[in-house]
Assembly symmetry: C2
Homo-oligomer: 501 residues x 2
């Protein structure tokens, strides 16, 4: 799509990091800027040995660069595969054709498979600026995508990433729609299922708008950045894994979209379904269990929304040839005690080790999800699945399997508590009536989760609990004083976080 | 909304320009980054002497900055009013509350006046990143805003900018919705109206997606960056002016939104109506003429769309107390010969000077718009307005007034031709049947317009013209060889730009 031009420039590594977006720095008076008429916010193509990337132009008004020199952001250098001192050429970026589909979508036209394929391929190629990705995710937000559009997006995402294949007939998988703080069942479920001899290569995402994703939590205990080859070795050996999906590029488009969604703090139903199922398809899954927790302050707030999602998951699964079971579960309050990567990891370990104080709710959810997966496998007599799941966990087999999986992924380490903390006590006596999950999640995020892995909230006041005045309701953990102050500041203006009456 | 924190940092001016967005550069290992847990794409608040701005964080991985130092982009330094060596403090950005309305709009909720006020105030304060502005303009694109929303947005835009007041009862104004290459009637109309003794303080915008806006064209002949005080002096003296609206901050929100719209190459009906009328209201206009050219390749393509816009303009005008007349005109082909700032300026001058080869279509459009404005004033006997407009132009009074206005704005200069050009000849004989305005505009843009003011297209083949094989159809002008090549490259893949049959 782009014709290389004649301008050769020498790369000076200024060491500037701009996150996901590629940036190029050029002198205001450089030959390229003046002769080509580039302006700021312009996007240009940078070429090196047949490779090319698109980068957003920043102008240098000082002597940081000499004429004939240019600088690329760290991300851009890595993407293009160049180093300090290398020579690159620069050309104009011709209009990105697929943006016409994004504009059509803004104008409420329905997009077909071809349009999504064009968009997603261009996103993965790095042709979209963050501004353009923001436009894309904004017009696909909420429930703005039709079922056919979600199918188109899912297929496009599958097509744009790597695919895994297995020598087994049945590959199990699970996914929770999220929004329920602390609901970290995955490591337990994978351990139970793998211990039962089934195959479950689980790739998880990092948090989008929540204080922790499964990948964030697992990262406090083991390595989650595995290549496809390494995952295959882990699965060959242990039958299960819990790794970060982004590292294996199963759906590379998704990671780029999620970074922008995160900064906008939005979720998209259609994009979520596409994201989940494209990763399952790319991971070679044949049987997928989807858990949708519903509650007034969970990610999915109403039964209506849950049923719509269930329909989307089923319709898209059918279109791409995956057997899917969607269960709608109780999402009225946090699961376990920890909210944040390390704190959730501690809950997971407590359940796996059958610790006396292990959170019973987390344990029971994990058993019931495991039973549903065992049932989907068709390997067990009807009605025995729950018993088998429970005995696999309580016998310690699941824990043994979990440690084996962590070791296979690169070694197990204990999650840690953060240095700074702040305790919040009840000012009232009574029974816990309701909890605002979103506000609890926000406190954990303000305290630093998930970027600071040991930051978060240790939550000790589940609905129905009898509370005395002065009882500890929850404890905020932070890795820095500043973040703790920040979370406390938010806490001080809150009302009705936990209603005791 | 933000609590200053305790981190003091010294500003190092690295001279990095990032266009409209404010950026801050911090060392990866700096105390602020590690203790506060900032991540890239994070937005932070930068404070200096009670002033504050919000800036997007970039991380420096090299020794460009020492510990205790930070750098701001040129735009950020200007906005905050700081210089190299000054000390600033940095704090976390608390969530921007008004973004909840943007999210609500994505989810198709209708926004009220309060929501628009909150959004626009935050945009003007610089609290929105380009990603957030992209989300905003995307969900307001096309005809996604209701009439009530457009009124809300218009009021918010008026409220967020400066206002001009005049000691006169009647302030005239005109606006063309655009999309018709070369349709530069404004300088002529203002000259006629002011020469007729009426008051017309015209503020114009720069191009959004077109090769030239009126401000871009005027800038090739005079200064358009006037302060409100300077505009008042020009009006006091000459009764008319033609200045850039952005420079007087009549609707500062609009300029920020337009920059992002431009990079996404989208227009929004509602935002356009709000943009136009908010500027008219802020400019103190009492009587406004709106010209909507309609044609298959103009900005407004159908009568239906034109009528909807007419309705929006009328409804919003009524809500904010402005008398508006909307006329729908022929937009099937370019007006005049020039497409691009300087080339259009030459057409304007030819008409004003009554040159023998002056484009007749531009002249007639200007006369008819001037007549409509004279009629709105109520100062003339019915049916005499066109005669008066014509005689004011043909007598040379309008030209005298134009030069006087330019001199009052800072002096008149002649527009120039660009150095590089390329001529395109007809390969066929026959009559010009149709013209693709959008493709012609794109050629002019690829050739460098409006950033390179003398770049563009000189168009010589209007519909109905008898063409011989080898006749010059149009001429592309560029300020650089690279841009000319680029426009030619696009031209070579075009079909049906000008249909001769």
């Amino acid at each position: 799509m782009n014709k290389p031009h004649f301008h050769k420039l020498k790369i000076i590594d200024l060491g500037i990091g701009t996150y996901h977006e590629s940036n190029i720095f050029l002198r205001a008076d450089s030959h390229v800027v003046t002769s080509e008429g580039f302006a700021a916010l312009t996007r240009v193509v940078v070429h090196k040995n047949g490779n090319k990337i698109v980068a957003t132009l920043n102008i240098i008004h000082s002597d940081l660069l000499k004429d004939g020199e240019t600088s690329l952001s760290q991300e851009a250098m890595e993407r293009l595969g160049v180093n300090h001192g290398d020579t690159v050429t620069i050309s104009h970026l011709q209009p990105i054709e697929s943006l016409k589909y994004v504009r059509a979508k803004m104008y409420k036209q329905e997009l077909n498979d071809h349009a999504f394929k064009a968009i997603i391929n261009d996103v993965v190629a790095g042709y979209y600026s963050n501004i353009e990705i923001a436009a894309l995710v904004s017009c696909c937000a909420g429930n703005n995508l039709s079922v056919n559009e979600i199918i188109g997006l899912t297929k496009a995402m599958i097509g744009a990433g790597s695919k895994m294949s297995w020598n087994k007939k049945m590959i199990l998988d699970k996914h929770c729609v999220g929004g329920l703080p602390g609901n970290r069942t995955t490591p337990i479920v994978v351990s139970i299922i793998a211990a039962a001899g089934l195959t479950i290569p689980k790739t998880s995402s990092r948090a989008i708008t929540s204080p922790a994703g499964t990948a964030d939590t697992m990262e406090t205990m083991t390595n989650v950045n595995l290549t496809i080859e390494q995952i295959k070795q882990v699965i060959e050996k242990e039958g299960g894994c819990i790794v970060w999906g982004g590292a294996v590029k199963l759906s590379p488009a998704d990671d780029l979209l999620i970074a922008v969604e995160k900064s906008l703090d939005i979720d998209s139903e259609g994009q979520m379904v596409a994201s989940v199922l494209s990763k399952k398809a790319a991971a070679g899954s044949t049987h997928v269990l989807i858990d949708i927790p519903v509650g007034p302050t969970a990610k999915v707030r109403s039964q209506e929304e849950a049923l719509r999602l269930q329909y989307y998951f089923n319709a898209v699964s059918q279109a791409i040839g995956i057997q899917t079971e969607v269960i709608i579960t109780d999402g009225t309050q946090p699961v376990g005690r920890g909210i944040g990567p390390s704190l959730e990891a501690m809950d997971v370990l407590a359940v796996l080790k059958n610790a006396i104080d292990a959170p019973a709710d987390l344990k029971e959810r994990a058993i019931s999800l495991s039973a549903a997966l065992l049932k989907m496998s068709g390997n067990y007599a009807d009605g025995t699945e729950t018993l088998i799941a429970r005995s696999t966990l309580e016998s310690g087999e699941a824990y043994k399997k979990f440690i084996a999986i962590c070791n296979a992924q690169g070694g197990f380490k204990e999650p840690k508590y953060a240095t700074y903390n702040h305790e919040v006590f009840s000012e009232k006596e009574g029974i816990v009536k309701s909890i605002d999950n979103r506000k609890l999640a926000r406190i954990a995020k303000l305290a630093g989760a998930p970027i600071s892995p040991s930051a978060g909230v240790l939550f000790l006041a589940p609905i129905g609990k009898q509370i005395k005045k002065g009882d500890l309701l929850f404890k905020i953990y932070s890795e820095s004083f500043g973040e703790l102050e920040y979370a406390k500041e938010y806490l001080n203006c809150l009302k009705e976080l936990i209603v005791v009456g």
